[in-house]
């Protein structure tokens, strides 16, 4: 409960009009960012515990023996995530906080363009890879090796429920071709 309360209190602070509009002093903005970061890390313990309980289905081993680590990537909005950029396979769990079923085009930052995505039934999904744009002024400010974003459709995300997808590199598939821009029109 102290973990949740820390995030609750931080969200209270973030409702100050300066926090909403970004009119606070610069040092205060940095403090807001730090508080949010600490609060989210504190709550990630709760989230991991809950998701590990959910992800133990009938017949599977107890979570105490095989706990998964559920990491949040707070820099996903700038196409950066340490787990998805590494070369190994990873799972992506989507929790839908809405009270109705939704679908979402998921974008995952990746270092390469050869990937396969499996849905919770083991079915391979249609994917597309697009390059992450590299505007001149922003290049030196990105601390990420993600060259591409992997796109797939997560359909039928249950209301206030979750779905998990398994994503791994796949060098053999002929459908994984390097994305290239269409020829320029003159």
């Amino acid at each position: 409960d102290p973990h949740l309360t820390f995030l609750r209190e931080t969200m209270g602070i973030m409702q100050h009009h300066d926090a909403v509009t970004g009119t606070e002093k610069e040092k205060v903005a940095l403090d807001y960012a730090k508080r949010m970061s600490v609060a989210l890390r504190a709550c990630s313990t709760n989230i991991r515990n809950v998701l590990n309980q959910f992800s133990t289905g009938p017949g599977s081993e107890p979570t105490s023996q095989r706990p998964f680590e559920f990491k949040t990537c707070t820099l996903l909005n700038i196409s950066s995530c340490a787990t998805s950029e590494s070369s190994g396979p990873f799972a992506l769990t989507l929790y839908n906080p809405l009270a109705h079923t939704t679908k979402e085009y998921v974008r995952v930052p990746v270092a390469d363009y050869k990937y396969i995505v499996l849905d919770p039934t083991g079915k391979s999904l249609t994917t597309q890879v697009v390059p992450v744009p590299k505007p001149v002024a922003a290049i030196k400010h990105r601390n990420s090796i993600a060259e591409y974003e992997l796109v797939f459709l997560a359909s039928n995300l249950p209301a206030m429920g979750y779905k998990t997808y398994y994503i791994q590199r796949d060098d053999s598939s002929p459908v994984n071709i390097k994305p290239t821009a269409l020829p320029k029109r003159e």
Partner: protein, 288 residues
Amino acid sequence: SSYTVIENENIKLTFDTNGFLSEVTADGMTRMISQEFLYYEGATGNNAEFLNRSSGAYIFRPKDNNIRFATDHVTIEVYKGSLVEEVHQKFNDWISQVVRVYKQSTYAEFEWLVGPIPIDDEIGKEVITRFKSDIKSEGVFFTDSNGREMIKRQRNHRDTWNVKLQETVAGNYYPITTKIALEDTIARMAILTDRAQGGSSLEDGALELMVHRRLLKDDAFGVGEALNETEFGEGLIARGKTHLFVGQSYLRADVSLKAIERLVQLETLLPSWKFFSNMELYTSDQWL
């Protein structure tokens, strides 16, 4: 044709030879709609005089009512695939954007990236994105009230007194938390935001949203410093998304677009939470 098109079965976006959006086809009609980035120069005044304050954190106050163009030519790259079609636009060294249409969506997504705003000329700048259409809105537009009801706004007008605006840009700006829209008897254009922004409709058929600001003077309203974040070097880069909806006017008794806007608004502001788990120790079969 030298025009560039991205589309799905619901919406089609056409870009002209200079790389700007020029036309949108959706909901059974084609409308002239352009989109571009522009900026205002921030006012620098004498803060001791109330009517001569600088533009700053608390007040948006352009030096004059003139607007500056970020560029007149956009470099574009086009990517098309089975799930999404994208146009990557580069406006200048510090403004770029990706415009995309997903296969099943009824709207277009504009993911903008602005900054660090250059201040070598010692001029503070307030950057906007502007959508101009041929919709005859007659000065009326709508802004949301913290994501809930839409409030009717009339340009250069206040409901309860006769107003004569001295500063017609700042005086027509309103807070946008999630949505700004306008329409005539036939067509409607709505833009959803991903954050609180300032916005307005300064011409009939046009909607604008402020996306980034960098100012060199304090406005003397209490914050005590200029809105010029330099803690990590050159100033901030901001990245965000807007969603553009075009369709039949609400006035034609078609409520479907309204329902779709509302649904996308929810899904944009309350997206799925994403958790990543390293699976190096598990094959896909073991994971299943």
